[in-house]
């Protein structure tokens, strides 16, 4: 996918359309074929990931030894492993697992006896909520600062913001999280240390009929402004820690694209007609500069999900990332496989959707 700035004005018929047309008629490389190929590629991607996780998890031990290795005799331990079927040939276990997966049966976690589907829905909403907050932070920080940096190109604000952007995506997310927690929770006491809500609010949310698991929505449903405020206060630091990671990328992207757009012919023409720089930026430059952001959101989703593991652990945000770390430690094959499959599907589908959108926007990406 291209992130190069467009050299044409918004609304200008793209010369690329005519460039692509002969390929479509000659080689069958139309949008439909592109979508089908992209969709089919999801299957091997997920298959490879599932297989890798399956093999790696079994190579690193079993959940029974992890839980009871310090209490049982070797014979008792072996008997339990045998009863659980973990001593069967790995191929047999793998085929059985794939069969269950194809039937939509993700199994039950080994370490805390919960249906994996329940784990995915319960904790998936928490992760989704955090990802949404993080994206909001990324947009709120990345886009305005990107515009500002572009409008002050090669001056002090630009230099400062470029360094800021590098710091944002170069700083490990757990370090940023710990730093934010140390300063704003421990030292200043402005925000809660950890969790998604205070104990009282959590209990209040649990009394709702059919809670969505999306705490902000549930807090609104309680009609209690304190609960809403409490949920938001708990979200601020995790959202900032995770959001800054993406904000740095957005900032650089917007800056580069706006600078590119400001040097295009139609902006030069507008400038020669006496349009002020501020208006040029607002009316002509920033909208096309946002297009590449759509194309990188797919990549950012993967980044956000991997960052969520560390962010959720740092802030005890009990989402999929938090649970994944817990289940990995417990060698809970079933849970880890279920979570990884879900993450793989989400990332693959997001990339698929983004690729399709990108292809619709810019036909040059259709090969």
């Amino acid at each position: 996918m291209s992130t190069a700035p467009s050299t044409e004005a918004p609304g200008t018929p793209a010369p690329t359309a005519t460039a692509v047309a002969p390929r479509r008629s000659g080689g069958g490389g139309g949008l439909g074929r592109y979508i089908v190929v992209r969709f089919l590629l999801i299957i091997p991607t997920i298959f490879i990931l599932v297989t890798t996780v399956f093999v790696v998890m079994r190579a690193t031990g079993d959940p029974i030894t992890a839980a009871l290795g310090g209490r049982l005799t070797p014979d008792q331990l072996q008997q339990r492993i045998h009863e659980a079927g973990y001593d069967r040939p790995i191929l047999v276990q793998y085929v059985e697992y794939l069969g269950d997966l194809l039937h939509g049966d993700f199994g039950t976690t080994l370490s805390d006896n919960r249906p994996v589907t329940e784990v995915l829905t319960t904790f998936g909403t928490a992760t989704l909520e955090l990802a949404v907050y993080a994206l909001i932070v990324a947009f709120l920080v990345g886009i305005p600062f990107g515009l500002l940096a572009a409008s002050r190109r090669d001056r002090l604000p630009d230099a400062v913001l470029r360094v800021f952007a590098i710091l944002c995506y170069a700083t490990p997310v757990f370090f940023a999280g710990l730093l934010l927690k140390l300063v704003f929770s421990v030292s200043l006491g402005w925000f809660p240390v950890a969790g998604r809500a205070s104990t009282g609010t959590e209990i209040e949310l649990q009394t709702l009929d059919n809670p969505s698991g999306f705490y902000l929505i549930d807090a609104f449903r309680t009609g209690d402004p304190d609960a809403v405020g409490d949920v938001l206060m708990h979200a601020v630091l995790p959202a900032v820690a995770l959001g800054l990671l993406t904000a740095g990328v957005f900032l650089r992207l917007v800056r580069t694209n706006v600078i590119g757009t400001l040097s295009t012919g139609y902006v030069t023409a507008a400038r020669s007609r006496g349009v002020r720089e501020g208006r040029l930026l607002r009316k002509h430059a920033w909208r096309p500069a946002l297009i590449p952001i759509i194309t990188v959101i797919g990549l950012q989703v993967a980044l956000l999900l991997s960052g969520a593991v560390l962010t959720e652990t740092t802030f005890e945000w009990k989402g999929l990332g938090f649970q994944l770390a817990h289940y990995l430690q417990a060698r809970d094959f079933v849970a880890v496989q279920g979570i990884v499959v879900l993450i793989a599907v989400v990332v693959a589908l997001t990339n698929f959707v983004v690729d399709v959108i990108a292809a619709l926007i810019d036909p040059r990406v259709r090969y």
Binding site: P10, G70, L140, Q206, G229, F322
Partner: protein, 548 residues
């Protein structure tokens, strides 16, 4: 491209809207008070407890861990239980419990017992509970503790007869108070499978001091006093208790010192506890703990072990004795654990009936301190040339973050005498568990947390010929004594036997115990009662706590 322009506009509008919403909501919300949101009960203000425990399952058949058992102790009835302040069991929801023949243990339930859901609690529930435990035999469950149970009978609504495989099993009453002992509601629990937590909560299948009113696994549990409990422990001092589950001890510590948590129990780090001792807002309350730490010797592969090239039982014993002479328990307890662990000089921890301190007098300076001269002469007398090379292994991820410091200090203590050259090695737990029973480690770290508060639980699993250590220790006299104590009906005679076993094992040194974990709770200044429940039963009961 026009559509893109529209998209950009919609996107900008959505972003601005979300931002405005977040700001407005943040401004209007002032955060909710943890304690303030719950209504106070008639028996004192609600209490919030914080813990890093993990719950595997609320079903007793599906879990065998401290976190799950901690919940069960609050919500399920037991036939036998330990009263506050004692490690010895008494009837709980039972009126009486006794051996009616050498292989029959008969329990009479109190009349009129009910579950929180209104179901009658009868002997049929008891029979159901033990039958399903044996039938399910879950790999994560404690069914193996029922090794001596042959069958369970319920001749009438209030009578239960346990038929035992071997006669006069004095440990059986303790087993009834262990993780295998919670009684469950036969109308809610599955007879042949582990029941999901939510089904248990929805079925209100509780009859202990508390019932669970709200449950989110490993996140938050809300308890409310159950007035139908008629057992040994009495009514709770506090009607409402909330337990918040943390992953990181550091977050638990911060919330404790901020007052968001009234009671922090299991497991703050020793450094955090030491830090909180100086905090005016909290009190650090301690009690005897059942957790022990010890070095295990593999009798085949330790220096001069039975399967080494220079095998010599006398020299091997001298090596173990020298280690026991050199370990400075006070130094480890103070420097590494800041007093949250205490020196342990026996195999049965202090506080339990029959516990003695044979290692204090037999090794070191006879007062519990190390003695390098004695170790030197022990090795010399046995003809062992020093320094002895000792490969010592510990787990870096199972016994807490201080294990590395703990074993670095032990290495230092052994080496500074000039008698040992210690090769300290560490392995991740799952591999460690396999290696230690495959004779890979000549000497290695282990810890133990009891299933029940009886000396037997610190002897039988360790020093019978077939033991979980799998370290090839085999002393027929000790083996027979351990089997004998388990069936000795006279309490005094049994205690004497337990004392003798400790002396005999101390002479053999299959393991060298060195630390006993204290139970530590950090509580707010206005919280009372923690001391009452930090006893040698090792069961932390929320019902003992009160606030304000």
């Amino acid at each position: 491209m026009v559509s893109v322009t529209r998209s950009g506009r919609r996107f900008a509008a959505a972003t601005a809207g979300a931002a405005a919403l977040a700001l407005v909501l943040t401004a209007c919300g002032g955060g909710s008070d943890d304690e303030g949101s719950s209504d106070g009960g008639s028996s004192g203000a609600p209490i919030t407890i914080g813990t890093t425990d993990k719950i595997t399952s609320l079903d007793p058949a599906g879990s065998y861990d401290n976190g799950s058992f901690a919940v069960m102790n609050q919500v399920y009835p037991f036939l036998m239980n330990t009263p506050y302040g004692s490690p010895d069991v008494e009837p709980d929801i039972a009126e009486s419990a006794e051996f009616t023949s050498p292989t029959e243990y008969t329990v009479k339930l109190k009349a009129g017992l009910k579950w929180a859901n209104g179901n009658a609690l009868t002997s049929s529930d008891v029979k159901f509970s033990f039958d399903r435990m044996v039938k399910i035999n879950d790999p994560n469950g404690p069914a193996s503790l029922l090794y001596n149970l042959d069958s369970t009978e319920a001749p009438d609504d209030t009578t239960v007869v346990f038929h035992l495989k071997s006669a006069d099993d004095q440990v059986f009453p303790q087993i009834l108070s262990s993780p295998v002992g919670p009684i469950v509601d036969e109308d809610v629990f599955s007879p042949d499978a582990v029941t999901p937590d939510q089904e248990i909560v929805d079925g209100d299948a509780f009859a202990g001091q508390y019932a669970i009113t709200s449950y989110k696994q490993n996140d938050l549990i809300a308890y409310e006093a159950y007035p139908g409990y008629k057992g040994l422990l009495g009514a709770p001092k506090t009607d409402k208790v909330n337990v918040k589950y943390y992953d990181e001890a550091s977050n638990l510590k911060l919330d404790t010192q901020e007052g968001n948590v009234d009671v922090a129990f299991r497991s703050l780090s020793s450094t955090d506890i030491d830090d909180l001792r100086g905090n005016d807002k909290v009190k650090v309350v301690e009690g005897p703990g059942g957790e022990t730490r010890y070095i295990t010797f593999n009798f085949d592969t330790q220096p001069f072990g039975a399967k080494t090239d220079d095998a010599d039982p006398a020299k091997a014993l001298a090596v173990r004795q020298a280690v026991a002479d050199l370990i400075d328990r006070d130094e480890i307890a103070d420097q590494v654990y800041k007093g949250t662990y205490t020196p342990l000089y026996s195999f049965v921890p202090e506080g339990l009936t029959g516990a003695t301190e044979p290692l204090k007098t037999m090794y070191g300076d006879g007062q519990g301190k190390p003695d390098a001269d004695k170790a030197k002469s022990t090795l010399a007398d046995a003809g062992v040339t020093s320094p002895v090379t000792l490969d010592l292994q510990y787990s870096n991820d199972h016994y807490g973050p201080s294990s590395a410091d703990e074993y670095a200090l032990i290495k230092d203590q052994l080496e500074k005498s000039g008698l040992f050259k210690v090769n300290l090695q560490t392995t991740e737990w799952v591999q460690y568990s396999k290696d230690r029973t495959a004779d890979v480690y000549p000497a290695y770290q282990l810890g133990w947390f009891p299933d029940y508060s009886d000396a037997d639980n610190y002897l039988t699993p360790f020093f019978l010929k077939e033991n979980f250590l799998a370290n090839h220790y085999d002393n027929k006299a000790v083996n027979d004594e351990i089997l004998q104590q388990a069936v000795t009906k006279d309490p005094d005679a049994r205690t004497k036997l337990i004392e003798k076993i400790q002396d005999d094992v101390a002479a053999d040194l299959s393991t060298v115990p060195y630390l006993q974990g204290a139970q530590v709770a950090v509580v707010g200044k206005d919280v009372e009662g923690a001391k009452d429940t930090l006893d040698a039963s090792f069961k932390f009961r929320y019902a003992a706590l009160s606030k304000g």
